[in-house]
């Protein structure tokens, strides 16, 4: 079979390998009108301009994300850190001050100034502040109030609602575990029964649904698995079934990942799905698995890079779901995050790179649990672990009730 010379793989140590599956090539040849496939190029400068502008100004088409502005901060800052573009100190400080205005007086962060606290923008705000990583950034977070907020959304069955009076699903456990671990406010009591609730989300397919009983889905599977990794309980999952499920989500023709069985590919699953493989690799390693590769994740890294670079880039900057869709900052963040995962194997001790196309396509590595750069994770942990774990004042949580004199505290279901 003819191997288009354009698709040469550059990796360390030097070894040029043609694409193994001709079917994958045929897909790309049909998709792209040119006769030979050019070496894929990451459009760094275009993405940088798109991100730089968005960090300041967004068009009215973003009105639908007016309750997710910390997310916009995180998606953009994380994309910039993957591209290894520095954040000017003035901008960083402005982000800190804005996120401070998004912080709720009762703890946690809201989608915008004056809104109610919600676990999703809380996750995004804490991540964004950790990316900035200055003292100013860390000091924005009111850790005592944050702990109060987490208690206020904790449910008796181990799950968390996304906000007071809001819905339950496995994203909440991940958001809570992520912020609690990074800011050192995590106590065993806070996550009592959470692992067993998350486990109930693993279904007959091997992946996890949003709540017990639901169809396995990449986003929810990532959240549940990453939460369990943070809580040190990932071994409680049926890891083999989960592994089989997630590897089966990579599309043989497109190279990217689908979110659910028999659905279409989407660039964002480059992170939610492919990001599971580093987590599983580590989980298997901890279990004593001796047959793990020392060079590759258990997905086709080259094919994913091809999908992202050839199919998910907007020539004017920004990345997207699939050809024909419009760009947005969510897809920019998660396509780049997935590209990073596909380029970098290993951890601090063992690192093997597989960069498709030019060396200039290389992104910074990302931490597969938090999805911010590993140095920023380490720095945040170092900073916050110097501080004492706050004493949880559960009485001030919106939904807790102190029982009789024995001090037994009962969390009431917060149905709004």
């Amino acid at each position: 079979p003819v191997v288009p010379s354009g698709l040469l793989l550059c990796c360390r140590p030097a070894a040029v390998k043609p694409r193994a599956a001709m079917q994958h090539y045929r897909f790309l040849l049909i998709l792209l009108p040119c006769v030979c496939l050019p070496r894929p190029t990451l459009l760094r400068e275009q993405h940088y301009q798109y991100l730089k502008k968005g960090l300041r100004h967004l068009s009215d088409s973003y009105e639908c994300l007016d309750a997710s502005r910390p997310w916009l901060c995180y998606w953009i800052l994380h994309s910039l850190e993957l591209l290894e573009e520095p954040i000017p100190a003035a901008v960083a400080s402005d982000v800190c001050q804005f996120l401070a205005r998004c912080q709720s007086p009762t703890g946690g962060f809201a989608g915008g100034p004056g809104q109610h606290a919600h676990l999703a923008p809380t996750y995004a705000a804490v991540n964004a502040l950790c990316i900035i990583g200055t003292e100013e950034a860390y000091n924005v977070i009111d850790r005592e109030k944050l702990l109060d907020f987490l208690w206020s959304v904790k449910q008796p069955d181990g799950s968390f609602v996304m906000h007071v009076g809001g819905e339950v699903d496995v994203r909440s456990a991940y958001c809570a575990a992520s912020v609690a671990s990074l800011t050192n406010i995590l106590t065993p009591k806070l996550f009592e029964d959470t692992p067993s609730w998350i486990l109930r989300c693993q279904n007959w397919e091997g992946g996890l649904g949003g709540v017990p009983g639901l169809e396995a889905h990449g986003g929810y599977t990532f959240c549940g698995t990453a939460a369990l990794v943070i809580l040190g309980k990932e071994h409680m999952l049926d890891l083999k079934a989960l592994l089989r499920w997630v590897v089966s989500r990579q599309m043989r023709f497109e190279g990217g990942f689908q979110g659910r069985c028999n659905k279409l590919v989407d660039g964002c699953y480059s992170f939610w799905q492919a990001g599971l493989l580093p987590l599983l690799h580590r989980a298997f390693f901890k279990e004593g698995e001796s047959q793990l590769s020392r060079q590759r994740w258990m997905f086709e890294q080259q094919a994913l890079q091809e999908y992202i670079l050839l199919c998910c880039q907007n020539p004017a900057g920004g990345l997207l779901d699939k050809p024909g869709k419009s760009r947005d900052f969510y897809h920019t963040c998660y396509c780049l995050s997935g590209l990073s995962i596909a380029q970098h194997f290993g951890n601090v001790d063992l690192h093997h790179e597989l960069i498709l196309g030019k060396e200039e396509n290389r992104l910074a590595p990302t931490h597969p649990v938090y999805n911010i750069c590993p140095e920023k994770v380490a720095q945040a942990l170092q900073h916050f672990h110097q501080l004492p774990v706050p004493e949880a004042d559960q009485r001030h949580g919106a939904s807790s009730w102190v029982g009789p004199a024995t001090g037994f505290r009962v969390q009431m279901f917060n149905g709004g």
Binding site: G165, Q291, S293
Partner: protein, 325 residues
């Protein structure tokens, strides 16, 4: 007409958004958006509980249905003003039809149904949403909640069968099938298990490359043991001739692995390793890394005792050698 120009609102001072002096991720709101939300913030600040506030929440929702703070406030008003919940059901029905992929609208509907304690419209409504997008995750979530909460199991398997006839590749429906059966009859009885296995094989014969059917087959057998179902391996090997697929081959590996767990035979291991090789190199190359890992894993776990004995090595000692002892 903007709220700032309405006489009936003149008593209320609008509250502009406090983005600070050097905003980031600043959205270029339309005049209408700013106007409505400036007044929403004013109402929230006052904690005003009035009909005009209630009406404004609808406008705020139309401008951004994902604003969970507005929805929360609307629910507070629904209760404080003793609003007609039947009318609210009509409202939320319309909103969901317009924006079926939003978390807040479905959560709001759930709250209203709970307050009314009336699920009677739900199954039909959800069926309508699913007729427009048969995989809407929120819709399926709401459906499972209603069925479980109000014990509406009776006709759900029929609903599942109808949808599978329309699209046998709809994985959400296969999931619903599992949901219904596991919460009603369960899979323990041989009659049910057999019925389900037969159902799968029939669907596979009709559409051999339908991953959902193969996943379901494995899903219902894995806890009991893939090789426990009599004659299944033989049926699958027969299908291999005319209805082969990477899913069939993967299923074979799973059958062999299960057989090995009960009875470690060299021949079974060799077959398993061969299929892994075939998948890795030819039939499912996108998953090459995985199939090679599985191959190494099986080889390591089920390394045959008689091979070791031939080498004159005690199996126990061999693992010590491997581990560098």
């Amino acid at each position: 007409m903007f709220y700032r120009d309405r006489k009936e609102w003149a008593d209320l001072e609008p509250v502009p958004q406090d983005d600070g002096p050097n905003p980031v991720v600043k959205i270029a709101y339309s005049e209408k958006f700013s106007d409505v939300y400036d007044y929403f913030r004013a109402l929230l600040k006052k904690d005003e509980r009035s009909d005009r506030a209630f009406a404004l929440t609808a406008e705020a929702i139309e401008l951004n249905a994902a604003n969970y703070t507005v929805w929360h406030y609307r629910r507070v008003l629904l209760q404080a003003l003793q609003k007609d919940l039947r009318e609210e059901m009509r409202y939320i029905t319309d909103i969901i039809e317009e924006q079926p992929k939003n978390y807040q609208v479905w959560h709001h509907r759930r709250m209203v149904v709970e307050w009314l304690n009336d699920p009677s419209e739900e199954l039909e409504f959800i069926a309508d949403i699913l007729s427009q997008d048969a995989k809407n995750y929120h819709a399926w979530q709401h459906r499972q909640w209603v069925i479980q909460e109000y014990k509406l199991w009776d006709n759900e398997l029929e609903f599942v069968e109808k949808l599978l006839e329309e699209d046998v590749r709809n994985n959400s429906v296969w999931n619903q099938r599992h949901f219904v059966i596991s919460h009603t009859t369960g899979y323990s009885s041989p009659a049910i298990l057999d019925r389900e296995v037969q159902y799968c094989l029939n669907q596979i014969r009709k559409a051999p490359h339908n991953e959902s059917a193969w996943n379901y087959l494995k899903g219902i057998l894995q806890d009991r043991g893939m090789s426990s179902h009599p004659g299944l391996l033989e049926q699958v090997l027969e299908l291999k001739e005319t209805h082969c697929s990477p899913y069939l081959l993967a299923f074979l590996v799973d059958c062999y692995e299960d057989a090995l767990e009960n009875n470690n035979q060299k021949e079974t291991l060799n077959r398993a390793l061969e299929v892994c090789e075939y998948l890795a190199q030819e039939k499912d190359t996108i998953r090459k890394e995985y199939w090679l890992f599985l191959q190494r894993s099986l080889e390591s776990r089920f390394e045959c005792i008689d091979v070791l004995l031939c080498q004159g090595i005690s199996p126990l000692l061999k693992s010590d050698i491997k581990n560098g002892v």
